[in-house]
Symmetry: D2
């Protein structure tokens, strides 16, 4: 393999830059030329690309976001768009591509692989909702950002003896809510994976801890679960405890990545180049039981990721 | 003066603990006994108080919120509530009170002063909206918290080439929005003090900077100005640039105070005790032209605070 | 088991409070009384203890350090000290103890277990140098603290085009240096596990990257390796590149714990109580392949922990 | 004036980029061309320069360090070097220069002004040791960085009940030590401006607070005062309290600037262009009593800056 491309796709996640850097450096070290593809698959369709050198990725490991930009690409899902992309690859001599993004972007990687451009996917999303991997690039930073924000909410909730209902990201998955919730000592954590009853799972828990003298409460709610404003109103109506809602929102997407995100992203980027350079494509790199592994994309897309029910139980028990 | 009380009232603000600490320590050093009054004026009405010692305020200077708790007190505004409060003061031998809070709490301080309990007010609110002072305890921390959050939003706005519309606190005043807006390099800053036209003041500025190559935009909006969700939709509709709204909310209220908040709060607490201990009450401590000063409460409440139009103009000029 | 004790021993580490909290809450939930033992084993010898309730551990999960204090206890290593400790246990009805600390404190746990007080050890040290576990409480926070400090050093190194030589903690182990070094994109990482030659492993790497245009350099050195001042002087002498040394020092020990430290500490504390409450002692809780497990203390102390040579190699390859 | 230059000189300071950005944007808005001069006065001597546009300063306001690099320039102090610099100015059509740096760099600005290149100096140094101004760009960020590090030291000092002796920057001035010391609640603060006696000013204060129950101590020492390792040993020897020294070092120089640094730097940069564009040179911009002002460079260099003795006294009184 003489030339590879690298792109970021879907929602951005802190650590994507560390992955891009590792891809570029590892490839150049193996004598492979690297083309940076901008704005996801759109960059491939429109030849929005440029050659990357060792120093193109200097001083980016600590930056949030992605220097390659990212975007969704409806055109890429059409036969015509796909063909344009393949043509650009041939034109530029791109013989393999590293795709960093969510599992939506893996389908594109699969399609390109089928058309003779071997692709390797890296899991990049703050939601940790990719089935084949225990860990996705960006998850650790997003959790810590959410936690720091809720730690601030705690100060004011405590001073006013209020209940604070916080929405954290996670439309389809409660991992971010669960870990953040444990970390902030939330009285209740609501996730899409576990059905809940406001009275039983929130209000009653509040009453229980009230008995032991607690007077302020943090309720962490995953985005996918419901409307925090309504929840706060409902809680206030039933308990008489002043309640406020906060939606942490896109702030969770940004910021300088944590050590964990930088290190795992670096390892994954390095592995992706190892795979491509030995002619292996149609794979996704994953993190399983503290090890970097890789799977066939089809296999990866067929996997199911169980929710951490055991951890959820622990969370419930120690938040009294 | 043998005994003084100290309370925090209204919305909590980072640095209130530093002020409480300075009050307690300065008073004890002068041989004055200190009573901590909990939950604002309510604590005075209900005798929810306790003696404070040198070590009662150990290791609190770096904590957000207020260890004395805070609350609004509708009862205190009634003749009956006020009388109860005065009685508790007499009972506990409280001969003067330091009140840390917004200008709402100054009225209570004024009323108590009139009834023979000299009070000194300290400006504590993240909004910096107290007329008599250039600076209120909590303002610097809130600005930096808001700035750090918008810096994170910038990462994702930049990666996706979006417009991010951010609501920062400030129902009545645009100070927080103005300083945060300059600090994050916002394309437009909307404050309650300056009327605006979305087309002229936001959209056209975006178009102008678009010409020079900028593709992501930060619009900072003070709470008092309007609805950021609608604004984002409107901007997207007109410009075609993907736009997202974020409400930073109560996160801005909490967190460990900055150096500036800790230092000025310490100075103000120290000054309050100097005033009370020399028999002077019915004053507010303020920060004017980099100096700690004090005013008669009536005078202070009658003051008007001009908006920083000059700074607003600079902000506009350099955000192109 | 009706009553258990909990203590922290050895160097403090962020997350210890989260572990204490989980121990207290999990035990009380099982109907077990908890005694907090202060200042490590000294507290056991001198009966420096107090009963802990649900609310004794409120609002500590986000605090660095340990609310139980910590200390070394030479007296505990004597037969007499040990006997005093056992007597205090009998006196207070303590039937089991959770010991949070480094592997030094496991020996005490082993000795107490032998004398009929079953103990469970939890790994708490920022160095991650406990053989039986992939992860120790405090490691993630310390890495992130070190990283943030080096990110700041980068700014000034870059502006002045200097070489910055940074000592991070880790007398016996290079884990902290390795992960921090990767995260900051260090040109070279020196750890006690890998012998090095300054000329070959540092200077030559600097020259190599100089060729591609890099003009500032970060060298991360584990405490156990050598003197960073001398190293900086040597580098400057040989290369002519201005070089500065910084010892990050004890700052790395403190600070609010990260999500990872809070969550794993919570899980470990919960597990410790599960073990003790089912009558099992003489165990250490560990983290292996992303799972909470436990080992016999003797076994744990006999284990060897391999250095992450693979990761070290990756670090080397992508830092060009 | 058709073309101006901008350079940063001396030690870098957070906020320099915000100042550069304001200079570039304000000038372009007035129709003035801007040349960025790299590596301080060296860049002028060697014509190490490039044209700056609106977008050259995009997304730098939040970055530490200086995108223009900085360096000392012994050559510039020679007649020959100075002449080269003047020639380069003529060559490039540079009719005025904004110099951002410490008062060392003002002398160069003075010399250039004398030779017909009007210069305006902006105070940029973390030490706040420039006589004519209450505030220097970088001071607020450096204080907050130092404070956050000492807050971390506090955790471990408290857990181990130790004394921590911390050296903060400030060779010639104690401003950083004073403000940081107050903010962290230091038991003693040692600055070059106030002679001290270890026994009387440190040890005795420790004994005093010991009596009230305090068991851990923070001593903040300005760089210019003496050797913290020796001090820690001495304190431990006399008091028997375990003592540790930490030198915060260059970490204090870096990091994303605070709101205050970004805003004041922006205002100062804007003012510098206003001066130059109206033909006024040989000035320094300063911050006096919360206002942006400017002085003749000669006058500015002749000023004396009094130490904040009043604040030092307050610090002493409330740290008991």
């Amino acid at each position: 393999m003489k030339t590879i491309g690298v792109l970021t796709s879907g929602g951005d996640a802190p650590g994507m830059n560390a992955a891009v850097r590792a891809v570029v450096r590892s490839a150049i070290l193996k004598g492979i030329k690297v083309i940076g593809i901008r704005r996801g698959y759109n960059g491939l369709i429109n030849n929005d690309t440029s050659r990357m050198y060792l120093r193109s990725v200097s001083d980016i490991i600590h930056r949030g976001g992605t220097i390659l930009y990212t975007a969704r690409s409806p055109e890429f899902k059409t036969e015509e768009g796909m063909q344009k992309a393949v043509n650009v690859c041939h034109e530029l001599g791109i013989e393999g591509i590293v795709v960093i993004g969510g599992d939506g972007s893996y389908r594109g990687a699969l399609d390109l692989s089928k058309r003779g451009i071997p692709c390797v996917g890296l899991p990049g999303t703050i939601d940790n909702d990719i089935a084949c991997t225990d860990y996705t690039i960006g998850f650790d930073t997003a959790m810590n950002t959410a936690m720091e924000m809720v730690d601030r909410l705690r100060d004011t909730a405590q001073s006013h003896e209020r209940c604070t209902v916080v929405e954290v990201m996670g439309r389809r998955a409660g991992f971010l809510a669960l870990h953040t919730g444990i970390a902030v000592g939330a009285t209740a954590i609501l996730v899409p994976e576990v059905p809940f009853d406001l009275e039983k799972d929130v209000i009653n828990k509040m009453y229980e801890t009230l008995k032991s003298g607690k007077k302020h409460f943090i309720i962490v709610v995953a985005e996918g679960v419901g409307h925090v404003d309504e929840m706060a109103r409902e809680i206030e109506k039933i308990t008489g405890i002043e309640s406020r809602a906060t939606v942490l929102g896109h702030v969770q997407r940004g910021g300088s990545p944590t050590v964990r995100d930088r290190v795992i992203a670096s390892q994954m980027g390095h592995r992706a180049v190892e795979l491509l350079s030995s002619g292996v494509g149609n794979r996704v790199v994953a993190y399983k039981s503290d090890k970097i592994v890789d799977y066939d994309i089809n296999e990866a897309l067929a996997m199911k990721k169980p929710f951490e029910y055991e951890l959820y139980k622990v969370a419930h028990e120690i938040s009294i």
